[in-house]
């Protein structure tokens, strides 16, 4: 691949998020991923072209080893069916997950908190009269419970990266034990897995092995740790942060010309 770099002003924050997420997926070559709708589908396509051709894509709508030739517009798109090993329905799509056979789940969301819990259901303080209703729990809750690890993509904004999510859709490291609803470590509920990585529009965040709290691992080119602190709703640890390698011309070219030439996902 050409080693020509692109300057930060020549790509959008969303493109950066998708490209760095695709690079991160290199860790999952040969592994099984359950891919959520939206930008995770885009990053997965880019990753399979550039970094992990042997990654196995599952969808919650029942495709096994999906290999779309065109970018799907939803997880029900027949673009995901053509070229799959198997096309059944949602039960067959999700039972590998509940059997703990999925190496990683890959999702978006509207809020993430310092323990990696993700909210894709509603924003506000009353579920029954939300400030803003979102897309719902869908498979995101199931990925958080059953995947061996979770990778999340989301724009990095103060109202999104928060101390505690308004609604806990995808269980992270500290989860709710019912009926009281107090926070416990996920292991206490017998849950394996847990979030490993949050790729935002500003950097890559990981979770401390001991405290399970989010810290900044990588900062994208043109972004400072101060930018990340200013756009995070809690006092985030930036002590371990290093600079990401710059984005390659080839990564941007493939994303724009081969993956989403019609800008269906409005990344630019």
């Amino acid at each position: 691949m050409s080693e020509k770099f692109v300057r930060p002003e020549d790509y959008s924050p969303t493109e950066a998020m998708v490209i760095y997420a695709a690079r991160f997926l290199k860790n999952f070559d040969g592994k099984r991923g359950l891919i959520g709708t939206g930008l995770p589908l885009v990053a997965t396509q880019l990753a399979k072209m550039l970094y992990c051709p042997n990654m196995i894509t599952f969808l919650e709508t029942g495709q096994a080893d999906a290999n779309p030739q065109e970018l799907p517009i939803s997880i029900m798109d027949s673009r995901l069916t053509f070229g799959s090993s198997w096309q059944m329905g949602d039960p067959e799509g999700l039972f590998p997950l509940s059997r703990n056979e999925i190496d990683f789940g890959f999702i978006g969301g509207a809020q993430i908190d310092k323990y990696g819990n993700v909210n894709s259901t509603f924003v506000g303080d009353d579920y029954n009269k939300p400030t803003k209703r979102l897309a719902g729990t869908a498979g995101a809750v199931d990925i958080g419970v059953f995947a061996k690890t979770t990778v999340t993509l989301m724009a990095h904004q103060k109202r999104r990266v928060v101390e505690m999510v308004d609604y806990l859709t995808t269980p992270g490291w500290m989860v709710k034990k019912w009926p009281e609803g107090h926070l416990v470590r996920r292991e206490e509920l017998g849950m394996k897995g847990g979030p490993s990585t949050f790729v935002s529009t500003l950097g890559v965040m990981k979770f401390d092995d001991e405290t399970k709290e989010m810290y900044v691992d990588k900062v994208f080119p043109g972004i400072s740790v101060a930018d990340i602190k200013a756009n995070t709703g809690f006092d985030i640890d930036v002590e371990r942060a290093t600079q990401s390698d710059p984005i390659l011309l080839e990564e941007v070219r493939i994303l724009r010309e081969e993956i989403d030439p019609l800008n269906i996902y409005r990344m630019r």
């Binding site: 709708t37 939206g38 919650e60 709508t61 029942g62 495709q63 065109e70 517009i73 939803s74 997880i75 029900m76 798109d77 027949s78 673009r79 995901l80 069916t81 053509f82 096309q87 059944m88 329905g89 949602d90 039960p91 799509g93 999700l94 997950l97 509940s98 259901t121 579920y127 029954n128 009269k129 939300p130 400030t131 209703r133 979102l134 897309a135 719902g136 729990t137 869908a138 498979g139 809750v141 199931d142 958080g144 419970v145 059953f146 609604y167 806990l168 859709t169 995808t170 269980p171 989860v175 709710k176 034990k177 019912w178 009926p179 996920r186 509920l189 017998g190 849950m191 019609l262 996902y265």
Partner: protein, 321 residues
């Protein structure tokens, strides 16, 4: 149920079997193989207090916006890349429509329990999440609303310790039967045997967990034709009560091997449905001012539809055509 010789009825007749307060499952998922013609007919017949299952996406959003549905138990209120379901969001945020959140696996297990004839199944799905927050449960409200309250469990779920393998907390997920399931398929025979291509979504489960099953089909073909290769059929005639032939009956969603998504139509709807007033205009224009699905298709026009046709071998229409 006895397999009648011929289950073919008109769309109008089929939808007349739905009652106010019914629990309704609309087949498939998001933007593929959605029973849109059936949804339009439900609005035309002005059904009320329906309780929707699984999702409030393309087919359900117009029911919610039209005041046909009062509550929903499911996991998704979006339309993939087209954004969130506009009328559903508007009605939830104004407190006029009540969501009862469960997970994706919960829907499957609820349908599965109904399918296998069990009152509940056990799962670890949704542990640790706010799906288990009792304050957010609308179970009692839904039970009060239901025309057949016995269809709705006394509780949304029960947590207990795993008595068999000592694996900690597990959840008992109650069966989630439907009064009516409407499934749009590629092909059906006159006795009800149906063939689907593409994702089956939940359809192969809900047809066995619903009291009444209505199939709408792109093509009605001789039952005998489908019985030459029964392994390729996903819905047996024994599960089906009525069959309606409705070509293009899922527009603007896609039907694999028949037509692709009409993206512009969905985008225009999403824009219109954001306000109550523009939504009403949209419904007037596309539902009430056309008297049938044929008139709807006539209004769309042959040229528009022709441009959506799928191309072999893909099952969709490649974008470079």
């Amino acid at each position: 149920m006895q397999a009648k010789t011929n289950k073919l009825v008109s769309l109008n007749e089929a939808i007349q079997t739905i009652h106010d307060g019914d629990v309704l499952f609309m087949g498939s998922f998001i933007d593929s193989r959605r029973p849109m013609a059936a949804a339009h007919e439900i609005i035309r017949q002005q059904k009320k207090r329906l309780i929707l299952l699984a999702q409030c996406s393309l087919a359900e959003d117009i029911l919610v916006g039209s005041g046909c549905a009062a509550a929903w138990r499911g996991c998704y209120t979006g339309m993939a890349t087209f954004g969130l379901s506009p009328a559903t969001l508007r009605k939830i945020e104004s407190g006029d429509f009540f969501p009862d959140e469960i997970g994706h696996i919960d829907i499957i297990l609820g349908a599965m329990a109904a399918m296998v004839g069990s009152p509940f199944v056990a799962t670890r799905a949704t542990l640790g999440s706010d799906v288990l927050n009792e304050q957010y449960s609308r179970n009692e409200y839904i039970k009060d609303l239901a025309g057949h309250p016995e269809m709705i469990p006394h509780q949304k779920f029960v947590l207990m310790e795993d008595p068999f393998f000592d694996e900690g907390v597990i959840k008992l997920q109650p069966a989630m039967p439907a009064d009516v399931a409407i499934i749009h398929v590629q092909q059906a025979g006159e006795k009800g045997t149906a063939r689907i291509s593409g994702s089956l979504a939940f359809d192969h489960y809900f047809v066995h967990g619903a009291r009444t099953v209505i199939i709408t089909a792109e093509q009605v073909v001789p039952e005998e034709y489908l019985r030459r290769d029964p392994n390729r059929n996903q819905i047996p005639c024994t599960a089906v009560d009525m069959v309606v032939e409705v070509p293009w009956g899922a527009h603007p969603s896609q039907v694999q091997n028949f037509y692709d998504t009409d993206s512009q139509f969905i985008k225009d709807y999403v824009t219109a449905a954001k306000s109550e007033e523009m939504f009403s205009q949209w419904i007037q224009e596309w539902v009430f001012k056309v008297n049938s699905w044929d008139e709807y298709l006539g209004k769309l026009g042959a040229v528009r539809l022709q441009k959506l046709r799928s191309s072999p071998p893909f099952g969709y229409r490649p974008r470079n055509i």
